[in-house]
Amino acid sequence: MKSSLFKRVLRSKLLPLVAVTVVVVAFFGITTNGFLSASNLRSIMISMCLSGMIGVGMSMLLISGEIDLASGYEACMGGIITALLIKAGIPWPAALLITIAAGAVMGGILAFLVNKVGLMGFISSMAMISVYNGLDYIVTKAQDVTITAEHASFYSLGAGTVGFLPIPFIIMVVLMIIYGLILYKTEFGRTIYMTGGNRAAARLAGVNRKKITSILYINNSAICALAGSLVAARMHCANAAACTSGSIDAITAAVLGGVSFRGGDGNMGCLFIGVALVTFFNSGLTASGLQSYWQIVVQGLLLVVALCIDFVNERSRQKALSQVAI
């Protein structure tokens, strides 16, 4: 009974998600003028980048059973660091590398708190939100750090296009493909699923959970820092208020996309659709004239919806696992 590829796609979580996305796009496309125009689509694709990139790092963490709620703030910090470095005269490729390293350090702090000290990921990262937020303001003296026009090449990194596709979008997709391959094709990737899916089994198979979580925290923060830099590139400036909703957007997108909260499930393909769905939805709301504060409510509601779906999935999973054939 070899199930065909077709049947497997049908059964997967991907299909309903794609269907809903198509419906959302169609809805807004019909009701709002210019929603499906080339320029709007391009800007939507650019919007996808922040939550998409953060989502990549976040999904890896979620699958392994951990979380980093400070991701948005780490992105913000990344943008600020890059902007400051460029302003100080450092060429942008070097600035980017340093930023990524700084991100790694941020991840390292969390890894230390979770693995060495033994605190829980969510509360530690929440504490770090305050730390990074405050530091952002202190370092920028509460003002924008502008990247002047002479750094045109950096700007094009954030806002330029290759053909139809914006460069940040391409970077996001490339990251998703790379990490998707890691998850799917490498032993390391599979051990991430094991760590999140069944700790006891992972231990019996000799998996070093602490090493994996450390790597993933560092990885996540580095990606977030990079994401923040790209946003700064596009905006010509960095400030302490940027990217801050990134964490929630990324989590919503990931959970909608099927990355389970309890760990051990999810993949990059679903993340992509989740990101697309959330971004199209948000864009559509803005385009149809909905005020920005409604969006915050919707954001929260969307997260609740995503969690409900995850809850239902989890219940049916548990039911299947615990049925004893007497």
Binding site: R8, E187, M194, L204, V207, G264, L321, A325, I326
Partner: protein, 495 residues
């Protein structure tokens, strides 16, 4: 040269309890050795030592004549020992193939060699004669199939020794046949097979020889050809009951029926009916997993009831939560006294008064004076060894902890009609056990009905007046104390 596995003088000591004592026996490749014994005989402990999960306190074990010392399960696997536990260790989101080869995925270049992975997995699946696709996510499989994947996982590591711990618990007949076919193939490949099970019929079908353990000690071994059910049961039971039970002052005055259960059903309990009279001690005997805890939890409303009636003092009752059951007069001392019975970091006083807080109110506040009286009452009644009632229960010994829980249910403010004790003497020393037996009888003398669950058959026979035996969620027999013997109970408890 055939493989060999030998245990020499293996012992395992836990604080207060000797789980294994001087175990020695040997087996060879190409043979199936069955490990039999009652609960607590030490079978699981022995397997865990072999699997590298725990370390023995004394003795050695040798594989192919070489002494081994596994520091963790991974080392055991690398040395060729595979254990298939009862609790499945599956990763639901991954495919069958990835679970089979978990930790040992075939690699090519930098990544996983998917082609080889799925091809090899499918080969094993086909060899086992199963209808399964190696790509299927384990989450989609039935429990029985997951068990099969577990077995294939053990097999994929090309082990020298494979241990099965109650492998047929969730398998249907067809799957059991498949399992036995696999086992005979493993025998032909010269592997050493250890098989732990309570199912006599299976043992006779699949095993070549049997080793019997009792109370952590080696009793005897015999070839299946020479064995019989009576011989085995006699080897597994029959210990010195001693005076502990003979000296008990029992209650012989029974009152009306206090609890009647009719055709009770839920996920783990099937069509159970029983009656308990006031002053009667009813024992529930059976093996682990027989459904006794599930039954009493259903009565206590700790778990949901699907169908059936519970009649308390002649009135049908429908409890929605333990709170309701307690108000009606039913009390439960849970099996796991630390996780489910006590709030460890709070005092004796607070733990003993938990169910009666409403009755301790004076106006809007708690009557601290009365509370202390109640707590003191419990301490004195059960001789709880402590200098103050403010001591945290985590600092008490197991026996005293159990007494705290008993004291909670039998103080003067509680109007308990039915007291349920689930494995009350687990992990408790002999002296305190005797105290608890007498306390149970004294409670019965006050006209309270008692349900007493124990996996130690002599205990059930010694303390209970009427004994129900359970197996697989059903009642398989009912005996009065006078006519009960360990053999009879064990026979009813097994299949």
């Amino acid at each position: 040269m055939a493989h060999s596995l030998e245990f020499k003088n293996i012992g395992k000591l836990y604080p207060g309890v000797k789980a294994l004592d001087d175990i020695s026996f040997r087996t060879e490749g190409g043979k199936v050795l069955a490990l039999m014994g009652e609960n607590g005989a030490g079978k699981s402990t022995l397997l865990k030592i072999l699997a590298g999960d725990i370390k023995q306190s004394e003795g050695i074990y040798l594989l192919d004549g070489k002494e081994q010392d596994f520091k963790n399960p991974h080392e055991a696997i690398l040395a060729g020992v595979s254990v298939i536990y009862q609790e499945r260790q599956m990763i639901p989101a991954l495919s069958v193939a990835e679970n089979i080869y978990a930790g040992f995925l075939p690699k090519k270049g930098g990544g996983i060699d998917r082609k080889t992975l799925y091809a090899n997995a499918q080969k094993i699946i086909d060899k086992f004669g199963l209808h399964m696709d190696a790509h299927t996510k384990v989450a989609r499989l039935s429990v029985a199939y997951q068990q099969m994947v577990e077995i294939m996982k053990a097999y994929s590591r090309n082990p020298t020794v494979i241990c099965f711990d109650e492998p047929t618990a969730s398998l249907s007949d067809a799957e059991i046949s498949a399992l036995f076919r696999i086992i005979s193939e493993l025998k032909e490949e010269g592997k050493i097979i250890l098989y732990v099970s309570h199912r006599m019929a299976e043992i006779f079908q699949v095993a070549d020889s049997i080793v019997v353990l009792k109370d952590g000690k080696y009793v005897t071994s015999m070839d299946v050809a020479d064995a019989s059910e009576e011989k085995l049961i006699r080897a597994m039971v029959g210990r010195d009951i001693g005076d502990t039970y003979a000296n008990l002052k029992r209650n012989d005055k029974y009152g009306d029926v206090v609890l009647e259960v009719k055709n009770l059903n839920n996920a783990k309990v099937h069509d159970v009916s029983l009656t308990i009279r006031r002053g009667e001690v009813v024992g529930l005997a059976g093996l682990v997993g027989a459904g006794r805890t599930e039954l009493v939890r259903a009565i206590f409303a700790a778990d949901k009831v699907t169908s059936g009636e519970i009649i308390l003092d002649g009135q049908p009752v429908h409890f929605k939560s333990p709170h309701d059951a307690i108000k009606a007069g039913i009390a439960l001392c849970p099996e796991d006294r630390k996780e489910q019975g006590l709030v460890l970091f709070r005092s004796i006083r607070e733990n003993t008064t938990m169910p009666v807080l409403s009755e301790l109110k004076k106006g809007a506040f708690l009557d601290k004076k009365k509370e202390k009286e109640i707590a003191q009452e419990a301490i004195e009644k059960y001789d709880i060894r402590t200098d103050t009632m403010e001591k945290l229960t985590t600092q008490l010994s197991g026996g005293n902890q159990q007494k705290v829980i008993l004291g909670r249910w039998t103080n003067s403010l509680m109007k308990t009609k039915l007291l349920i004790l689930d494995e009350p003497t687990k992990g408790i020393d002999v002296g305190t056990k005797a105290e608890i037996y007498q306390m149970v009888c004294d409670i019965a003398s006050q006209g309270i009905g008692v349900i007493f669950i124990s996996s130690e058959t002599p205990e059930v026979i010694g303390v209970a007046d009427t004994i129900y035996v359970m197996h697989n969620g059903r009642i398989t027999g009912q005996l009065k104390r006078e006519e009960a013997t360990e053999e009879k109970i064990l026979a009813l408890a097994m299949d």
